[in-house]
Symmetry: C2
Amino acid sequence: MAQQVPLDFLGDLRRTHSCGALRAANEGQRVVLMGWVYRRRDLGGVIFIHLRDREGVTQIVFRAECDGALHGKAEMLRSEYVIAVEGLVEARTAENINPNIPTGEVEIVAEKMWMLNTSETPPFPMEEHVDVNEDMRLKYRYVDLRRPHMQRNVMLRSKISLEVRNELSGQGFLEIETPFMTKSTPEGARDFLVPSRIQPGNFYALPQSPQIFKQLLMISGYDKYFQIVRCFRDEDLRADRQYEFTQIDLEMSFPQEEQIFQTIEPLLEKVCAVAGYTVKAPFPRMTYAEAMQGYGIDKPDLRLPRFWPVEDLFPADAGLTREGLPLVAIHIPSTGALSRKERDELKDYGRERGLTVYDDPKRLERDFPGVVEKVRERTGAGENDLLLLAGWRDEPKGQRPEETVYQACGQLRLYAGQKYNDRHKLLDPTDFRFLWVLDFPMFEWNDEDERWVAAHHPFTSPKDEDLGKLTTDPARCRARSYDIVLNGVELGSGSIRIHRQDIQSQVFSAVGFSLEEAQARFGYLLDALTYGAPPHGGIALGLDRLVMILAGESSIREVIPFPKTAKGTDLMSEAPAPASERQLRELGIQLRRPQS
Amino acid sequence: MAQQVPLDFLGDLRRTHSCGALRAANEGQRVVLMGWVYRRRDLGGVIFIHLRDREGVTQIVFRAECDGALHGKAEMLRSEYVIAVEGLVEARTAENINPNIPTGEVEIVAEKMWMLNTSETPPFPMEEHVDVNEDMRLKYRYVDLRRPHMQRNVMLRSKISLEVRNELSGQGFLEIETPFMTKSTPEGARDFLVPSRIQPGNFYALPQSPQIFKQLLMISGYDKYFQIVRCFRDEDLRADRQYEFTQIDLEMSFPQEEQIFQTIEPLLEKVCAVAGYTVKAPFPRMTYAEAMQGYGIDKPDLRLPRFWPVEDLFPADAGLTREGLPLVAIHIPSTGALSRKERDELKDYGRERGLTVYDDPKRLERDFPGVVEKVRERTGAGENDLLLLAGWRDEPKGQRPEETVYQACGQLRLYAGQKYNDRHKLLDPTDFRFLWVLDFPMFEWNDEDERWVAAHHPFTSPKDEDLGKLTTDPARCRARSYDIVLNGVELGSGSIRIHRQDIQSQVFSAVGFSLEEAQARFGYLLDALTYGAPPHGGIALGLDRLVMILAGESSIREVIPFPKTAKGTDLMSEAPAPASERQLRELGIQLRRPQS
């Protein structure tokens, strides 16, 4: 229960400084600060307040000898009360200087104080490193957002967005807004629908991305488009996914892949600089095929060394892996010797994924003299490093069995790397290793529907030299698509698009759309391609993920001011909520009865 | 039907210049341009192409003596084909210089040409001043967006948005994103609803504005927030309204009205400069009461002079207006003498709104000698100006009958001003007259519901000195709200908010919410106000309207790339559209049967 405290009007009072501004050079000045009571100490009748705002903290002193009314008012102050203070800046004596805060050389001797608002006791402490139940944090998000790490994250995000806009504008990109009430295109993720009131029975969809609109803008001749834009996907939520997320979305005309890279690399250099980190372009590049063969994944984390196929170093009848399938050497640096238990865990982990794991180089050396040295040569693994070999002795699995083996090895590599990261900090979160992955497959086989589906999206151009394979050999048709990867996270994805209607129709047909289906879903794009569409391509980067990584966080909820829970609930406002019967009637819809 | 034209791959070819870049100084350079065929002329075997991109137009020449294959290819070119051209920059001879285009001193002598795409004949001409049916324009928006005025508008909008962001960031504002999937608050306009799939029977609402979120951000201590943000209202559409529109939304802590003005005025100065216009702050200010008494409207167009009450200049028994109601002198400069028919039209227009209009100064002078000179003195109306007097002889009407008279006079003033603007250009669209209107009434009486409703919104603070009138005299309670008005258009609206829970509860109660209703709708805001809410206030400006006015357009559809029709249809993609039965089932909703 809050105490009864008479409140003051702000009136014409103005701040002279923020709570982070004052230094020794301000000594003797009369100042007015406003903010929140952060900490309060009483020492022999003297009341010390740490007053906080977005910019920092300043110490306010209510001396014992100040006037009684003022002192009495100061005695009423509690955590998170909002006040304005007028007073004189005094230098602190040497022994009282607080080196932990930038304003620590001074304090304000209060002469007047305005009580602007009181506060209930906050539901959890404002301190930096206090763990609080996330549901509590989300319910009282307005309090949570005051905590230092959330303030840093929100401010960093704001700075990054501004930097992105200025850099892209400097490169000649125009920010152009696209609609949020669009047409549902039931391909890819599930759409959120918005019922129309004046066209009952009809629905808008919230866009999963501005993909088609940005292609139309290229067809309209805008040449370089970008937008920092909200996108919507009705998918189940997890740490790096929310119903609504923000993309840095861009598209350009007449580009090669190279020009996309030359746009994004300086952008990411500048964004990292905003966060206080230096990265240097050009970023390394590898094809999808190389990524699979070295990392077993399409988003390699370059902070760990690649793995190597080593079956050629062993006798053909070694039996460590099935004939025709790779034997892979995985190497994690500087782990030191692992215990038997630790090594068994790794073997179990591999076995669950179909791998046979050889964890004992001595035994391999005994069975195949001289080979371990050659493996160490190829992989660069030293005596103090973990060296695992992994083979596949079961039936081959999947459409490209060697890829199945690589993928399992990729998982084992990351598992071992992350596990021993705890002990050896191999995976430094401030070591930013950007990477381009290129030439993804054009199609993926969908077992359920028994058809090829677009690996990226159906507007992606095949490589010029693979055009002939579109319908004759879809499995070997490569796309002009590329991902930008950061430390094992896919940060963004893009492609050179199809700008010719004949090729677009072929691709729709390759993914199993009849002419009618293609026309019903994307007719306006197909039409637009016949009115002078230029070659074009683009990319979209996940802003939430980018800020998350640069802020050193492991969930995008830490960089989104008002996120939703895993069930899609806003715990603060209690959305979603039932609609009134009148609202539903106006929209021409009604709830289904639960099935009995 | 498009002709069969073999297309070329772009390959590694890169542009060296845009189509707006080349000047006489580039003579002799080898260049590569890419763009659209805008115009084509054939003169004695020489083919001239105007090649167009976003930056401009450059003339390409295919000489008769160039190689036959190239010339043959050039002969295939039609309007809106997409090509790349390599050639040499040549200076034009003096008589061939085209002063109408910035590249008019040069032309490119083509040596190679790549046919990148063909085009059907566009559905309407690309020319500047051709009137095209708006439905056609919207259906083929990707073609329409190529037309010069749309290119200018979209680029201007992009530049204005960037300027807004840099100016506000420079002033210490943080851009912070707020959610689009929020809680429905059935107050004000109708919400768009979004059904939840994993919480069937529950709905999100698209936000009408980020109002509550930005207040929460102030409570969280972010101090200065802004966002260029989409908002959604399910209202019937018209020229200056779309379902989705974009706001420049901002909020600050510890402000007086003055600080809001000092934020917005330099912002608008800079935005106008981006559009090529000079405006000077400070902008004039008037109270709502003054606006009504001088203009009969809360968004005065200052390009026309104010009107004046003149009942005091006449004898008490003059009978020109009902006792106690104003007699108003309306003055439109430099109209010259109007015909009898024109004057009768004005009288009819006034009569339909309840006014008795006196259009003949000579007759007034005869009936009331000497008075017309006094009226001319007060209004400043000269002999060549239109001078009308208007009174109200019927029963008084409305809660504040004098306001009813002023409003009718305000309509007559605008009608006369706009009508004779056609002849005399009084209303210069590039004469930007910004104006602040202050101190709006806190409440408006709603006849239908028989209750007071918030005139701005229920989070608006009453003026400190009117706090006591909240429940005792709501009709005379003024709000700390303000509008920014430009040439008769309300460009933005804002207020100092309520930051104290006790006052917020009183206001909710004054607008007829029970404690339970207030808690159910806005409980989280009421809660937040108890955790140290600082004084705060803000404003939101309509970006669409702002760009519309600065672009010299009269509909916001001219500055929105992909707008909807009056029925809310996207004619290009044909949204909204029916949803599949499966989508509806997943969302737990079904269509209502049409009522029989």
